[in-house]
Subunit: 232 residues, 2 copies
């Protein structure tokens, strides 16, 4: 389904991270899946909510888009269908073992996590189609360069702050991309991967050359906690 | 002279980097030095403007606070005193050689550069006393940890963007500090220093522990160009 317009309309003008997450949850369950349910007569939505999602949402750290009943939302009453969550008692490392035991291929059971709110969680400030395109281009480069790193997760974040750069000897008040690459087992705690500087050089070189408007690239050096895996 | 109040009043509500730099220039030459000149009857201000300052200001990259005549400002007419600039034809590396030849001690002729607009150039967004205090605490840690690195320059930048962190299991929507450490001879071009990861770990650990409100630390990995040494 191409649901871009629904999401971008819901996100328009919103800059608060939790408001953005709430707008995505509502669009996802009510508008996008709601319409599909009506069309198809489906009665269940099967999803991979895990224990860390519940824990972080209830602790008020980040509202994960897939948390409903624990926040007092009855999906059948509000959206018209039931939600089935078979993995709800497991953390990421156990889910990988279940996937492997079920015979799923390596690239499925061992793939890097990707946020529920997708690239909207990787844009600080307002999420516009243009800004998502910027972070998508940077993400593609990060995934190409780091897929062999063996890291738990790697991502690009588009900052809202602008910084001064130089292009062809002239001022370019441009964008900054932050790269994060994590060592972790279950996303509950994590450390930045000690990537070789040649790799960091190549990331900065490619992102500032291939992604229009970007003049600065940083690398996260903070552990979780006190950081979190995603920035917002 | 304690001129904090003059500068903070001039900076209040300003977020555009060039407007901030212009406000600092005006406060510096007109208000702070202007008063001093009237009190003392001084006729000259001796300052260390160098060739890169002129070049970057005229190219429109960053307005350096010490550029006056090249922007059509006659200091005698506008501020009431003449400005003497004996180093104006030299870049940083030559200035260091002059300093050494004159017999100045190593810690003077070889000290890391520090921006004219001081820590105001290290705060993205509005420069308030509280935000300067945050970046000052981070700067102190960066200087303590990197003074033995042999790098050309090292600095901390306070971002305006906020990111999600965790403290004691609870959400902390906090601040981000960016650390930059440069290899350069004259600040015209530069590369990030390849600091050992143990040093980056210690920087992140100390800054997120000792500086109130900071939950995230990044390290710049972009060369100049397309980056610049300072962020704004």
């Amino acid at each position: 389904m191409d649901a871009q317009q629904t999401f971008f309309e819901a996100l328009k003008g919103r800059t608060d991270p939790e408001e953005k997450r709430e707008a995505i949850t509502r669009s996802f369950y009510r508008d996008v899946f709601g319409d599909l349910v009506k069309e198809t007569g489906a009665r269940y939505l099967l999803q991979g909510t895990n224990y860390t999602d519940i824990e972080e949402t209830l602790a008020g750290i980040k509202r994960q888009h897939n948390i409903l009943e624990q926040l007092g939302i009855d999906p059948e009453e509000v959206y018209g269908y039931k939600v089935v969550e078979p993995l709800i008692q497991l953390r990421k490392s156990s889910i990988r073992r279940v996937g492997k035991a079920l015979g799923l291929p390596e690239e499925i059971h061992n793939r890097p996590p990707f946020p529920g709110p997708a690239l909207a969680a990787r844009v600080i400030g307002e999420t516009t189609p243009e800004r998502v395109q910027t972070v998508r281009s940077a993400t593609k480069i990060v995934e190409e360069e780091l897929s062999d790193s063996g890291a738990f997760q790697y991502l690009a974040i588009l900052h809202e702050d602008r910084v001064v750069g130089i292009r062809n000897g002239k001022r370019d008040f441009g964008l900054q991309i932050e790269v994060r690459c994590w060592e972790s087992k279950d996303a509950k705690v994590g450390s930045p991967t000690r990537l070789p500087y040649d790799v960091l050089d190549r990331l900065a070189e490619r992102i500032t050359t291939e992604v229009p408007g970007v003049v600065s690239v940083t690398y996260n050096i903070t552990k979780k906690p006190p950081s979190t895996i995603e920035a917002v």
